[in-house]
Symmetry: C2
Subunit: 208 residues, 2 copies
């Protein structure tokens, strides 16, 4: 525990240091910064964090973070409601939305299956996904989970449970990033990108 | 400004990103971490920050952060009250106390003179230092400010104002750190350490 000459400072430093990736030294720097700030600014910081926990809810359809029962994406009338993209959390939605390449709906799992971290299928919103697939008319489910062992496990689990209901189940393409050099690409990615090679015309028409 | 699908999340991210050294991406990661935490934990985080601003006061003698009018260091009866070590902020006190080499009192300036950042002598606790030196019996003032242009400026300013009252005014030694290699030391430090060379016996007896 951090210990200085003020119990209040110690408390604040210890609380800040509980955040991921923030050590005692950084926590002290941040606490001293807040201490120097105006009362009003610190109050709005504190209010923002308190509201974060008490006022945010999760979309009843896709489990995205939302201020209302149904999130702004699920509410958009022009979205293609027959396509669901399965992601881990809201950061992935922000990343995908920034590409402007996807017009369907999302399903936020809230994590991926990881026995090491004690996360099984029941801790995720998988049942709700299977229910959506059963009850709604879904043409395609896109699995956009991380390219890790845990991501693959989750992909297989989902595939097993929805393959009867959904015609098309896809995963986002693995391969060499645009602008990346071959010599710096790891062997597994390079190997996979050779196996999953695409037709020349198709590949270039997509990039145009 | 960061914009996602929840105004409350946006607010929290924008507030967290105002902290020094924290960008939007890290702020989002921290906000999502807090969102996943239990209500109780978030509340104790929020309370710690709020108390930080509303309950902490500053020692009336040395201006150190304190929970009481006089800080725990100034209250210690065994301290040498005739020696004052002038530092920039509480982090320097923590660092010096960790060495267990100093038994005197401190004086926290709250910064150093830096015209570029708009910090003049009046923004610091310099007048209070001059008053202490005048009214109390002080044998030595140790200047432990950063070895920068701003630190030197502040050192000169203090020296000019207290040299009539205090017999001994010292600065902490500049030189090569213990365990440091000569080839990686910058020229200015190496040059200064040659000019301020110390007697062999004195140097080694201090390190024993």
């Amino acid at each position: 525990m951090f210990s200085s000459y003020s119990q209040y400072l110690d408390n604040a430093v210890n609380e800040i240091a509980k955040l991921p990736g923030i050590g005692k030294r950084t926590a002290l720097r941040l606490a001293l910064h807040l201490l120097k700030e105006d009362e009003v600014n610190v109050q709005s910081f504190v209010d923002a964090i308190a509201n974060l926990k008490s006022k945010i809810c999760y979309c009843k359809i896709c489990h995205n973070i939302s201020d209302t029962d149904i999130c702004t994406i699920c509410q958009q009338p022009k979205r293609d409601t027959t396509t669901i993209c399965v992601v881990q959390d809201i950061r992935d939605i922000i990343a995908i939305e920034n590409t402007a390449q996807f017009t369907g709906l999302y399903h936020v799992l809230g994590g991926i299956i990881s026995p090491v971290d004690g996360i099984g299928p029941n801790q995720l919103t998988l049942e709700s996904l299977f229910k959506r697939v059963k009850e709604e008319h879904i043409n395609e489910v896109i699995l956009a989970l991380p390219a890790t062992v845990e991501g693959d496990t989750t992909n297989f689990y989902i595939h097993k449970n929805i393959k009867e209901q959904v015609k098309t189940i896809t995963t986002i393409a693995r391969g060499i990033g645009i602008g990346e050099e071959l010599e710096f690409t790891d062997e597994v990615t390079l190997g996979r990108s050779l196996l999953s090679r695409t037709d020349f015309d198709t590949s270039y028409s997509r990039r145009m």
